[in-house]
Structure formats: structure tokens, C-alpha cells
């Protein structure tokens, strides 16, 4: 899976926001705010990754156990899907 084209992540201190640019921005006027993990996953998904690859990189980066990483990653993937940001 991968983030669709036309979304831009920007960090302001500890706050991370995603805005739409390009043609898609007319249909996508809302802003998405992300926490640190969310921003990390968003950046990772600028290239096509599997769920497993994503979870491994979350474990490496945050040095957390597998169960927590799976839970957090799944929640975030689901949020991205619902917001229409993911290419399956």
C-alpha cells in the first residue's frame, strides 16, 4: 500500500498536518492532523510497502514490542483508508 499522489505532510513543531494539493484538492478540503507515529507511517508510505514491512519499520524506529506496533499500525492504516488517502 502507498499514499495517493496529491497529499502533502508538513510538521509544525510537534503537530503534523496533511493537506491536499493538485486536482484532488477540490474534493478534499479538510485537513488531517497526525501524531508522531502517524507522521512516521505517512512518510514511510510515500513508497509502496506491505503491512509487514511497515510494522517492522515501526518496531525498529520506536523500539516497541510487536503487539503494540501491530495495533498502532493497523489503527493508522485504517484511518488512512477511511480518509481516502491510501492506494490499496
Amino acid at each position: 500500500m502507498k499514499i495517493k499522489d496529491g497529499f502533502l505532510l508538513r510538521s509544525f513543531g510537534e503537530e503534523h498536518i496533511v493537506v491536499a494539493v493538485g486536482e484532488g484538492s477540490e474534493d478534499f478540503n479538510k485537513l488531517i492532523t497526525l501524531n508522531d507515529v502517524g507522521a512516521f507511517i505517512f512518510k514511510k508510505l510515500s513508497v509502496d510497502l506491505s503491512r509487514e514491512e511497515l510494522i517492522s519499520s515501526v518496531i525498529d524506529y520506536y523500539e516497541i514490542d510487536r503487539a503494540t506496533a501491530e495495533k498502532d499500525t493497523d489503527i493508522f492504516i485504517n484511518n488512512l483508508k477511511e480518509a481516502g488517502l491510501l492506494d490499496a
Binding site: L8, R10, F12, G13, E14, E15, I17, V19, V21, G22, E23, S25, E26, N29, L31, T33
Partner: protein
């Protein structure tokens, strides 16, 4: 007909067809300086503004004027480090204080309380759509022809000092807030470009702007005390 204007210290030509637009912009006419660019509005632009408007039934002149503003803003954003910010802005002791909120919250009502209580010390910069511009690393609030429903504003520029996120409350309260709490609220009060490089530019400008101004969470009722509480914190401290 083509007229020459100077807004936010930027000179440009605009092809104006409607009396409404001419009238609101006439304080900004100039004739002795070279124009940097031209703004031309066609029927498609007017239709696009009508579609964006929550009312859809204002006059074509009104839509022409907002179309001029939109084109002007996108034209100057990159080259002149400028953006639009939806707020009521006043100057006190040559410092700009901005009140921002969703429409209908009472920005103009609160601004009126400042005028009522502090009289001559308060000058309205712009009551609805000022331009914010960065010059030599400093942000300024500029008056524009788009002055809001009560048509209040002046053709002046004032250094940006304070940005208040206004909400209604029974008790008056003011406290400082950090950038991270307000970036989304700030982005909702400006027009967001479709073009990716312009969007990056806008986010850079907003980042610098929010670091430079003091940001406040301002909760107010409609009594005089609301302006006094805000004044004591923003101007006196």
C-alpha cells in the same frame, strides 16, 4: 476598464467591469508607479466564485471583487511572501492585533468593543480580509479593499503582534497557546492553493508567521469587560 492599484505595497493592473468592484477598490488606486502584473477576470471566474460562495445570490460585482482578490493573492504569494488571512485586525500603538474565528462567532462585535472602550487608541486595519506580508523577515498586516460587511478598514500597514483565536463564552478568558494547537485552525482561515509548490510556500509563511506573533486563546462575551480583559493581557503585558 483597466485600473492601477497598490495593495500591500504591490502595484498591479486589474481589468474591472463592475461598479461594485471599482467602488470598494478606489482608495487603492495609483497612477505614477509601474505595475508588476495584471489581473483579468472573466465570466468563468465569476461563476467559480458564485459556486464557492455559501449564498450563491450576491451580485456579479461582488463575485468579481472576490475573484480579483483570489487572483491577486495567488499572484503575490510566491514572489512577495504574502498570504490572505481571514480575521478582524486592529492597530494599537502601531501593533497589529488579529481576531480570527469561524464566520458568525463575533469578530466584528469584539472589535467594536475595543473601539468603544479604547477609542482613538484603536485603528481598524481591516475587518475581514487583510493581507499578511513578510518583509526583511518581519510580518506586517496590510489593509485591503475587502473590508467585510461593515466596510471597516484603512490603507495602512502595521507590524504583526498578536493573533487571537476567538470563541464565545459566558466568562471572559485569555491565555497564551502554542503553535501546535492552532496550525489547523490557522489553515482553515486562509485560501489554500492547489499548486503544490505554492502550498509549500504558504505553509512556510504560516510557520514563520505563527512563530513571530503571540497567539492567544480568547474566550469572550459581549460586554465591555471582554475587550478590557484582552487589552490588559495583549497590550499591557
Amino acid at each position: 476598464m483597466i485600473f492601477r492599484y497598490k495593495i500591500a505595497d504591490i502595484v498591479f493592473d486589474a481589468d474591472i467591469r463592475y461598479k461594485y468592484t471599482y467602488n470598494i477598490m478606489k482608495d487603492y488606486l495609483v497612477d505614477d508607479e509601474p505595475a508588476r502584473f495584471s489581473v483579468v477576470i472573466d465570466d468563468k471566474d465569476i461563476a467559480a466564485e458564485r459556486a464557492l460562495s455559501p449564498y450563491h445570490h450576491e451580485s456579479d460585482g461582488m463575485y468579481e471583487s472576490t475573484a480579483v482578490y483570489r487572483k491577486f493573492i495567488y499572484e503575490i504569494m510566491d514572489k512577495y511572501d504574502a498570504f490572505f488571512f481571514h480575521c478582524s485586525s486592529i492597530a494599537v500603538e502601531n501593533k497589529a492585533i488579529m481576531f480570527t474565528a469561524q464566520s458568525g462567532t463575533g469578530k466584528s462585535t469584539h472589535r467594536n468593543l475595543w473601539i468603544k472602550n479604547f477609542g482613538d487608541r484603536v485603528t481598524v486595519i481591516n475587518d475581514d480580509k487583510p493581507v499578511i506580508r513578510k518583509i526583511d523577515g518581519k510580518f506586517y498586516v496590510y489593509g485591503t479593499p475587502w473590508r467585510g460587511k461593515e466596510s471597516m478598514g484603512n490603507n495602512i500597514r502595521v507590524p504583526a503582534e498578536a493573533l487571537c483565536f476567538l470563541s464565545r463564552s459566558e466568562k471572559n478568558y485569555i491565555g497564551e497557546i502554542s503553535t501546535s494547537e492552532i496550525i489547523a485552525r490557522t489553515l482553515n482561515q486562509t485560501v489554500r492553493p492547489k499548486d503544490e509548490s505554492l502550498m509549500i510556500k504558504l505553509l512556510d509563511l504560516l510557520d514563520g508567521f505563527l512563530k513571530q506573533v503571540k497567539c492567544y486563546d480568547l474566550r469572550v462575551n459581549m460586554e465591555d469587560e471582554a475587550a478590557i480583559v484582552a487589552y490588559n493581557k495583549i497590550v499591557k503585558e
